[in-house]
Amino acid sequence: MGLRAYVVRRCLQLVVTFWAFFTLLFVLFRMMPGDPTSMFIMDGMTPEQREQRIAELGLNEPLHVQYIEYVRQLLTGDFGQSFIYNDPVTSIIAVRFMNTIVLMATALIFAYIIGITFGALMGWWRDSRFERGGIVVTLVARSSPEFWVGIVLLSVFVFWLGWFPSSGMRTTGGELGGGFVARYGSLDFLRHLFLPALTGAIAYLATPTLLMRSTMLDVLNADFIEIKKAEGLPERTVLYKHAARNSILPIVTVAAIATGTAMGGSVVIETVFNWPGMGREMVSAVNNNDYPLAMAAFFLMGSVVIIMNFVADLAYVYLDPRVEYE
């Protein structure tokens, strides 16, 4: 089977996966106890008012009608109105999602670049002091809870050294607006970004480092590494072009999944640094029984996981010639 047929088949799989995913999401939300009105029950609310509110929200329709309406809206990119904010979900989420992407992508990129490099070197210099020390540092980073790392960074860099602002995304009263670059490229924003991104990077660092190290150890035992050394190639070439290049394959899959979950935002990091991202929004939406908002958040997060896996599969074809298109 050729590459083209493989891609086509993989795309069809993608569609089926998506359908299963959003249907499951619909069912899960309808199975949840309580309904949005439970948040509105105030002293003066009569049963009639409550019924009326439910009808407004379309929750009195039979399930299959709700489902069809739900699919129609998804296909048109319309996630409906938030029950709580009374604003279109799309506009609420778009901003939050972008904030999370900028934060998490920065954290992930640093974690994976540093993790892959250090993991590769740890495998290469096996049994050295560098490797032993590296494992300890990695495990400490891995075992430290995000909130604790966040608080330590805050104490040191904000309250003690005073180098960075303590919370939020930008200084209050600062100029807002302009394009993407103006919003996310300003020095003020980057200063706010640094500590939460560092916290995230520390949390994500362990996986690529340890995985890279262990696959390096496997790959370094392979005969071809010895042949490449016998060929007289310099160590640097053997390390990067051959050993690390082969070791990176499993990292691709892990990175794809990590990206997927990271895009859901980290409730802990966002709370510690008061970052207006997806994680916090999703939690409050669930607490408020705000179906459309919570569902859109879950939908977005799940979509990223599915799409990243799809990308990883395609990347594998390019990275590993041994992958069979079957």
Partner: protein, 361 residues
Amino acid sequence: MTLLDIDGLKTYYGSDDGWVRATDDASLSIERGETVGLVGESGSGKTTLAKSIIRLLPDNAEIVDGSIEFDGTEITELSDRELRRQIRWSEISMIPQNAMNGFDPVYTVGDQIVEVIRHHEDDTSKAEARERGRELFDDLGIDPDRIDDYPHQFSGGMAQRAMIALALALSPSLVLADEPTTALDVVIQDRILETIKEMQEELNSAMIMITHDMSVVSETCDRIAVVYGGRIVELADAETIITNPRHPYTLGLRNAFPDISDDDQELISIPGTPPELVDPGEGCRFAPRCPFAEEECWEVTPQPESYGDGHQVECHRADEIEHLQAEAGKKETWREQDLGERKPVETADEQAAEAEVELDD
């Protein structure tokens, strides 16, 4: 003309129990264009001996003594950089046991041939290097267009041919072949060996063929070195090793391989296991397994004795060759149950105690 002269080479591995003497006082010289077989059991140190020549040793291994003179250059004194530039692959290349694993799976075979050519020859263009790879493929009986295939797309025999192409890409003067045909079936084995011989003659490369297979060495090698316990116990031309060996270990090895022309031949194996190489002490290393061991064998390490025509043997009893050869052909000579009783009790006290412990088991 001597191409390689190994003299008193000692390559030891560090371990928790002390030095493992994988190669202990080995001397061997090789002429240009000559093929020498290194024969011995797994763990006898034959691979360590060969890899010492290009210093392709694990981190815990060290060449502690001896010299390796290659074409006037003392290899043990080269810096890593000089070794990579002047010796590795351009002068000495190798063919691994399993060619399929000898190629990096994520690059095409052609890319890997081009990589090594261009690394050693600064002014060869990519196209020229590729063309040379294609010619080598053609010479070795592989379709030149397959140079753009990945290693996993090759069959075992073809991968081995491609590996030979890689090994010969820089026309080295010496090729180290580490059991190059063990992973292949017999018919292909034969063809590969022929191909190696043809190419080797064309380039006038010398070769060290490492194997535990007597039939492979007898077919391809000019001379054979029998390795036991890190030492070269017998060295002679192939004919002599096959028909007129003097070392009991060689006699035993010969028994263990079938002779197709002799229907009645009974295969006899050598009882016991290869020796511990941590601090082996004085005495012949083969003595514990040797049916002919005498008191002297346990106490004095035999030194190489010459028996004419470059035939060297490390054995105290090599003079009694008729007797040894006659006895070695009998199955009862190599009985396993005799092993424990062979060690003379009147040696050092410590050894006597050890022997008692063995008997108690």
